[in-house]
């Protein structure tokens, strides 16, 4: 697969001197669903705006289909954007909103009727042609925004937190629908979100960002199972993160005890972050357990119980299908491959 978008050493400084992007390099493959994931202010939307052409990087290059497109205005780029708050044209009805891009390009009326019709079908809005966009629900407005962008047959569709304003149920529906559209039309989607679950559900590739730096690029499974640092681990799902050190290969010491693990290649006694997913903590009998703690709280979450356990130096979060009574002393253990060792990242 070819790279459709390449970002090389992007740096963006804002007027007040704040550095928003710090040397971002990234290749996006054709027909890929890529998600920029990170907390607000991490630079994910800024990166998207650079691809769209709304913002020029302070330094660095943007390539589209192998050509450098720095300085090319948005209307000359073969990408379209779905905006966070839809940004529909309030003076136009549903049909004219979708037809907007085609009218600007002087596409023939016959072609416009055909393509807008296809789009209305794609986003399930047949019969809404004449409706004013101000009288649509949030979900319907979002569909119009998606149709309005896709009708132009862009090579890349940029989506800036498009589902942020929708309620949970609708959001889940739209996630599936968007993924279907992306696969059916074989398009490249670049999706920005701060919702880790959304990122994991929809993407081929997740790009985790923080403070203007790409923390990790990988498939959802990789990102979840093999986070490269404590930030990624914490941001992608809940995690127990404790300080530890590596006395030797495949042995890690934390909370004063030594555990077997599968990581190696660290300096002797190098300090590390130890990350253990809540569902990977095994509850065992307190007697003879390496690690013990007192159950502080139990919350029923539907599929599992979430327990907070007060260990010696750390409060552990445990997800388990069986609840332990509050106040009980329990033991905890881990499988070696469930203990993830991470170098302390310099910048988080």
């Amino acid at each position: 697969m070819e790279n459709i978008v390449s970002l090389k050493n992007l740096v963006v400084d804002f007027e007040d001197g704040e550095r928003i992007l710090k040397n971002i390099s990234l290749d996006i493959k054709d027909k890929e669903f890529v998600t920029f994931l990170g907390p607000s202010g991490c630079g994910k939307t800024t990166t998207l705006r650079i691809i769209a052409g709304f913002l020029e990087p302070t330094s660095g290059d943007v390539f589209f289909d192998g050509k450098r497109i720095n300085g090319l205005p948005p209307h000359k780029r073969n990408v379209n954007t779905v905006f966070q708050r839809y940004a529909l044209f309030p003076h136009l009805n549903v049909y004219e909103n979708i037809a907007f891009g085609l009218r600007v390009k002087n596409v023939s009326e016959k072609e416009i009727v055909k393509r807008v019709g296809e789009m209305l079908e794609l986003v399930n809005l047949k019969g809404f042609e004449k409706r004013s966009v101000n009288r649509l629900s949030g979900g319907q407005q979002q569909r119009v925004a998606i149709a309005r962008a896709l009708v132009n047959h862009p090579k890349v569709l940029l989506l800036d937190e498009p589902l942020g304003a929708l309620d949970l149920k609708l959001r889940k529906e739209m996630q599936t629908e968007l993924r279907k559209i992306q696969q059916a039309l074989e398009l490249t989607f670049v999706y920005v979100t701060h919702d880790q679950e959304e990122a994991l559900t929809m993407s081929d590739t997740v790009v985790v960002m923080n403070n203007g730096i790409i923390q990790q690029i990988g498939s959802p499974t990789d990102i979840y199972n093999e986070p490269v640092n404590a930030f990624v681990a914490d941001f992608i799902g809940e995690s127990n993160i404790v300080n530890g050190c590596m006395p030797e290969d495949c042995v890690v010491e934390f909370t004063g005890r030594r555990f077997k693990c599968v990581d190696k290649g660290f300096d002797p006694n190098e300090t590390v972050d130890v990350v253990i997913r809540p569902e990977d903590v095994k509850v065992v009998s307190a007697e003879g357990a390496k690690l013990t703690g007192i159950v502080e709280s139990v919350v029923f979450k539907g599929v599992h119980y979430e327990m907070t356990v007060d260990g010696v130096d750390h409060k552990w979060i445990i997800h388990s299908t069986k609840a332990e009574p509050v106040g009980a002393m329990i033991g905890m253990d881990f499988d070696p491959f469930d203990i993830h060792i991470m170098k302390i990242s310099e910048e988080q």
């Binding site: 052409g53 709304f54 379209n80 600007v104 962008a149």
Partner: protein, 269 residues
């Protein structure tokens, strides 16, 4: 609800005494003789002044168009500035209005006069003197100068509400700057355009001070004509009322036509 209705009573009384009654009186005077008998003589007499009507409408129209052309870019630029700068800029736009209307127009008299500052400066580089004052151009200038803020204000307040992302969306969908202007900004600012035109055209068509001070005798406007019937030598309040009534009808017709261009849910007048 009932309690709220009580609150509107003073305003209703006000409207009846100061708006409804005067209009009825104007209509009554327009259709009666000195002895109080019904006549349409005065209304038909208005026809004699058709050239003054045409001249007034023409000058007001030119002034309105110039105001629109000047105000549109100014309003747009201000509306795209940072919030705190917008306030300062609007204050500067409004600043002349803090001064007395007569005083401002007097100032133009001294500027435009045959021995005024402009001709004096031109004379220093060997030009002129030009006849600036007592021309139609001076009247239009006076109108534009005095009513420009009334055009900028409604345009600005509509434009400030245009979402930046809507403009970005149009660029994203293939619009160059010209397309953005005519496909998005103009349609979205239409309510501001119509209300701005109203706010400039209506006072401009009925002004009498500006034409008196800057237009000399050759630029008699409807406003001057009406004033003459009530305060001048040709005292005839019945004719004055008839002219006023015809003017009101003309303005009403023009406004109705204007409103056809505004979206249904955004009629401003």
């Amino acid at each position: 609800m009932k309690q709220l209705k009580v609150l509107s009573v003073p305003y209703l009384v006000w409207m009846v005494i100061f708006i409804l009654v005067p209009i009825i009186m104007v209509a009554f005077f327009a259709f009666t003789n000195e002895d109080g008998s019904f006549t349409i003589k005065h209304i038909s007499d208005v026809g004699q002044y058709a050239n003054i009507f045409v001249h007034s409408i023409w000058l007001a129209l030119i002034a309105t168009v110039i105001c629109l052309v000047l105000a549109y870019p100014i309003a747009f630029i201000i509306s795209r500035m940072e919030k705190h700068r917008q306030g300062t800029m609007m204050m500067i736009v409004m600043l002349p209005m803090w001064m007395n209307f007569l005083l401002r127009t007097y100032a133009w008299m001294t500027l435009l006069g045959n021995n005024g500052i402009i001709n004096h400066l031109l004379g220093m580089v060997g030009l002129g003197p030009y006849k600036l004052i007592n021309t139609s151009g001076a009247v239009v200038l006076g109108m534009v100068y005095n009513y420009l803020p009334f055009m900028i204000l409604p345009l600005y307040s509509v434009m400030a509400k245009i979402d930046k992302s809507v403009i970005e969306a149009s660029r994203d969908l293939g619009c160059n700057s010209v397309n953005v202007l005519f496909r998005v900004i103009v349609p979205l600012s239409l309510p501001g355009i119509t209300s701005g035109i109203t706010m400039v055209f209506v006072p401009a068509i009925s002004t009498f001070i500006i034409s008196r001070m800057l237009g000399g005798g050759s630029n008699l406007l409807i406003g001057d004509l009406i004033e003459m019937q009530f305060l001048g030598n040709s005292y005839n309040p019945h004719l004055g009322a008839a002219i006023s009534l015809v003017l009101m009808v003309i303005i009403l017709v023009i406004m109705t036509v204007m409103n056809q261009f505004s979206p249904d849910d955004q009629v401003l007048i």
